[in-house]
């Protein structure tokens, strides 16, 4: 399954936000992907996420495949929607 999200926080998916994203993604067994346009990265790879250079306002597609994919998508999109608990 997949879901579109928009990066809301001012600093974008910077190091701290990317670390939180990877920590969250890693709690699930599902394979997690993050797509920006035609680039797809492993959602459990901080380097991959940083390489997406997702600043504020970037539209990303989160994907998850595996038995806990629904929970993974819910948790990750909530994290992104919350702006990683940072200023938006």
């Amino acid at each position: 399954m997949s879901r579109e999200v928009v990066i809301r926080n001012r600093l974008g998916m910077h190091a701290r936000a990317a670390a939180r994203f990877v920590h969250t993604a890693s709690q699930f067994r599902a394979r997690v992907t993050v797509r920006r346009h035609d680039r797809v990265m492993d959602g459990k790879s901080i380097l991959g996420i940083l390489l997406l250079a997702a600043g504020q306002g970037t539209r990303l597609t989160l994907g998850a495949e595996g038995d806990d994919e629904t929970a993974a998508i819910e948790a990750l999109s909530a994290l992104v929607a919350s702006g990683f608990g940072e200023d938006t």
């Binding site: 600093l11 190091a15 920590h23 790879s45 991959g48 250079a53 929607a81 919350s82 702006g83 990683f84």
Partner: protein, 579 residues
Amino acid sequence: MQLTGIGVSPGIAVGPALIVEREDVPVVRLRLGPDAVPAEVDRFLRAVAASREQLEGIKERLARDAGSPHGYIFDAHLLMLEDPLFKDRALAVLREEHVNAEWAVRKVAEELHDRFARLADDYFRERSSDLDDVLGRVLLNLRGAGDAPSLRRLPGSFVLVAAGLAPSDAAELDWERVLAVATDEGSATYHTSILARSFGVPAVVGLREATRRIAPGSLVVVDGTRGQVVTEPSAPMLASFRAAQERDRVEEERLQSIQALASVTRDDARVVLLANVEFPDDAETARLHGAEGIGLFRSEYLLGRTREWPTEERQLEVYLQLLRDVTPHPVTVRTWDVGLEDLAPGGPTCANPALGERALRLLPRAPDAFRRQLRALLRAAAQGPLRILFPFLTGPSDLRAALDLLAEARESLEAQGLDHAARVEVGVNVEVPSAALTADLLAGEVDFFSIGTNDLVQYVLAADRGDPRVSAHYQPLHPAVLRLLRSVVAAGQRAGVTVSVCGEMAADVLPALVLVGLGVRELSMNPAAIPRVKAAVRAARASELQELAEACLDLPTAQEIESMLRRALADVLAPLAAF
């Protein structure tokens, strides 16, 4: 020779230069026989494991020493170390190409660098320096060099000159022996700068060519206050630096010497100076700086790193300790001022924490946490002058809810027959404009106001002081702020309620004097600021400050107010100019 950079940590230091070269580990490239590959894979994994252990150690040390929120950098570094794009890829190169581990790491590093270098965004492109830091460590560990021992155990006291200090290097530094820091790269928000400030070590960054132009062992002067670095200073130059250093020291001593003196203006107005305290250990520092009590204890410390609500007994222990440490002075404890995200790590968050579910707004979600705290506070108050401060209240209805909760806590203690204070001073943290505007309605219900100017100014002017793009709009001397403060003070005075200010405004001499002029007689600040504010109070006249404050209220802009104050208070400020 003189170099100019950005002074990021004040003070002057003189000493011999130690040049830090983050040594580029020579990489030997070897082709391995297929049977040697498993041992090489093993060697690589051991180096990764050793790196992980070191990074975890650094992260812990950093959290302990600097109490800093910068540990996340190492979370990111730890994730990079285990990242499939690095680790799995390096293993694949090892196995498929039969090369030695150093070569594999270097090859993957180059691939990743290429990808980062193509990014248009500066911030993301520069993350390759974090990657360098992590992979450099793996290479060092492969070589069996372990942690860079020279930085952890310096062979003497030095002025550290470096191209740049990676966050992990800076965190590991033997700071006791670092006289000053000078770096080619960097900015004020550079991690090394933040650490230097927290260790009180003078630092100048952004010098561009310090490592190239300063010879190892040469005598270097670093003036972190003015952003200057001078090598092999001439005798007169050195003398002038020594004189400046001496002036700073004398000033510091003078400030220390007034610790025991009363905080009164020249015309005998008493201004009580209290300390804002984050950790219980700060209470001792507060006393040493002459604080007459704790004006703000941010109790969130008790949540610890695990962010768990502490038990009632654990809280009681800490509150009693604070009372003992500052006896006979009062201790003001602010009740939980946490956000939604603090309730359950990884749980829900607020889009805008400053306007969201915070402090007592969380009561429905965590009623026991608030009840336990109020019970612990009431029990501690039986043993000494403890004051309870409710943060983030927006007006009378919030206050009623807080007071009801307090009454409920008292009843539950009575029912259990536990010793507690029959009467305790209760205050409102006036930080939301609505609370300030209803101060007259609140005054009858409480014993004191503590105006939290950091938040109040931010809410009144709609400017986030943490955001460098709008921080110029954050103006404590804005007429709107001063007018609002005046009305809160007047409401407090009419009801006979003590009005205290806790916030940066109280710690800065100029605004602090304006507050005294507006009628505030209690200022709470970080302990280090107390001697200086006291010196200013002792040099000023309350009657004059009152006139000045009134004159400020008629001026249209913060700039005009500030320049008028600087002119009028030149005599008071001049002796403090060294700071």
